[in-house]
């Protein structure tokens, strides 16, 4: 018996960042926590959970369902159910944008494209290959090569519309290309914009993108310019839900809420 109150938890343990969302019974977020995943996923999940409970002013007992997702989904000891991040991203997006859409999620270590129909059912999905191209890892490598903090890139990219084109797929080759551009005195801002364009190019060549395009994940959360670049590339507006980095965790929390509701209906 869960009563009318209570919370539902979604934990998304990604390769780079761990995200946790607590929602209430109406599906509104009561807490959001993000931490570096680090090396101990189980501990990170616990820390996120404790912090979220504190933020929401809730106790563990008030949490009536936990769904984990992401690479570290098996490491969340307090999860009742595990779901893939592909599923959770779809559910998280549809919860906020209840229409047919193509979701592009760009994470720290991978990316995915998910197609949902008007009822939110997944039609197909693709994940990237085993490579940093088109992921946050590519951007981190570029920041390292340029000697900049990764958090500083977006502001710099916004100062120019002239991107310096990076044509290599391979991160190592792209870094060599950057060296050549620097030698030629090309502006750093343009190189950063070019790196962002490269990420988008790698993603959009994975699949066709019909209809509304929704962009999620940590990369757009930290680099809003990515949305503009995607929009330029596909020639139409791109939707970014609020808190795009938490989409998977939100989807997981929504699934926890649905599971609890289904159980209650069955028990009633």
């Amino acid at each position: 018996m869960t009563g009318e109150s209570g919370f539902f938890c979604g934990v998304d343990i990604g390769a780079s960042a761990s995200k946790l969302v607590l929602i209430d019974r109406s599906g509104d977020a009561a807490a959001r926590v993000v931490r570096h995943s680090g090396v101990d996923y189980a501990e990170t999940a616990e820390l996120c959970f404790a912090e979220a409970l504190e933020t929401a002013g809730a106790t563990r007992e008030q949490v009536h369902g936990v769904v984990s997702t992401g690479y570290g989904r098996d490491n969340v000891s307090f999860a009742d159910v595990r779901r893939t991040e592909i599923h959770c991203h779809g559910v998280g997006c549809y919860h906020q944008i209840p229409r047919a859409m193509a979701i592009i999620d760009i994470g720290g270590q991978d990316n995915k494209i998910i197609h949902l129909d008007a009822r939110g059912r997944r039609q197909s999905f693709k994940m990237n290959r085993k490579c940093a191209a088109g992921t946050g890892a590519f951007i981190e490598e570029i920041a390292l090569r340029l000697g900049l903090d990764v958090g500083a890139l977006d502001a710099l990219a916004q100062t120019t519309a002239d991107a310096v084109k990076l044509s290599s797929f391979c991160t190592v080759f792209a870094k060599t290309e950057i060296l050549a551009h620097l030698r030629q005195g090309r502006p750093v801002e343009g190189i950063i914009r070019g790196a962002f364009q490269s990420v988008i190019a790698r993603v959009v060549e994975m699949d066709t993108l019909d209809g509304e395009v929704v962009l999620t994940g940590g990369v757009v959360a930290h680099n809003p310019t990515i949305r503009d670049i995607l929009s330029e590339r596909i020639g139409r507006d791109v939707t970014v839900p609020p808190f795009p980095q938490f989409t998977g965790a939100l989807g997981a929390a929504v699934l926890a809420l649905r599971d609890a509701a289904a159980t209650e209906t069955k028990d009633a």
């Binding site: 893939t84 592909i86 599923h87 997944r122 197909s124 999905f125 994940m127 290959r129 085993k130």
Partner: protein, 453 residues
Amino acid sequence: MRKNARDDPAARLGLDAGAAFGVSWTFQLDAAKGDTVPEEKKSLIKKIRSTGAMKKLMADYFNELKEAQDTGSAKIAWCTSVGPAELLRSFGFQVYFPENHGALLGASRIAAELIPAANAIGYSPDICSYLTSDVGAYLRKKTPLTPAFGLDGAPKADLLVYNTNQCRDVQDWLAFYQREWKVPLAGIDSPRNLGEITKNQVESLASQHKALIPLLEEVSGRRFDIDRLREVMESSYRCTQLWKTVLKLAEHKPSPLTFFDGTIHMGPAVVLRGDPRAEAYYKLLISELEERIAEGHSAVEDESLRFYWEGMPVWGKLRDHAETFAGHKACVVASTYCNSWIFEPLGSKDPFEGMALAYSELFIVRSEEYKEEYLARMVESYGIDGFIYHDAKTCPNNSNNRYGLPERIQETLGVPHVVINGDLNDLRMYSEEQARTQFEALVEQLHERGELR
């Protein structure tokens, strides 16, 4: 009763193992402890009783090769897996299949340490990893055939014979040994990407088979005997029909066997087709599988989803994949890979035309249109819910996702798919986590679509 280790080469290794393609998963367990299902977790894979007989048969096969090598009792011919094995056998050659060894190196998970040796002498990491693992095994003098069968390496060939129907890599692979051993290399150059197979193509291929005869006579020291060829062809045909029956039993819902079982039990159909012992084995296997059906047993407990595997197996991950699917009550019921050893035309009247057609009619040799129609037939007859395409990094020839086929199938038949990036042997090209997430996401998608039976 515990088996005498001397009778069972696998037992000498402390393994419950046969040989690839009759590879047992336990080769993998030994090679990579800790990388497989933890012991305390009960395996979901159901054992097939006949496996013991298959192991014995495969052991006999390797022992005969060893004897031929040690005593010169027979000449040894290497033959690519869908090459003219019947013709070679009719001359009394002991036929050895290098891809079988390639699969063994993959399944025993030592390929990754062997491939670099071949890379270092100029064989790119991007070409066939059967080739690079096998050449690496030769260079490093390391093969599971040593502990299992006392062979100090792959048996030395007196003759190397290929058919380029599957790829050009096989020719380059055997050419390596031609240079090493200074033995003759010959083969069949097949056209590829075939739609309908024309009379001209069959005639050309048949005459290429005939053109091999003088060389085979010279190396074997025997005259060509058409009656003997007919006999071998008939046995090979019967073997193929029995193998087909085995695979078709998986049309039953629930299926009595999985694709992963198939990759193991195809051993005799690959290396002993044309030998009546292979026929006897499949009769045994069929009766066991029919018994499973009659008793209501299935390969996967509570089978609720049925998948098709397109492309090469990931040899070093067979067991993990089998457990993963079984864990989701999903059975991979059919595959192009296992079907590739069904050679209907071997029953033809004219043995040369029969071989020509049998070895060019294969999926791998055919056009995209043919492949699309073929897969549609599989969906229909096996009741397929979803496709797993394996995009094998080093085998473009057997990675059928690269020209839009999965998308077309999904569009026309509404059957969803995932593409797993990996490789047959080079596990450095494979991401466990990505593959698992994709399998699971497809299962979730099918559940969501309410397609569960």
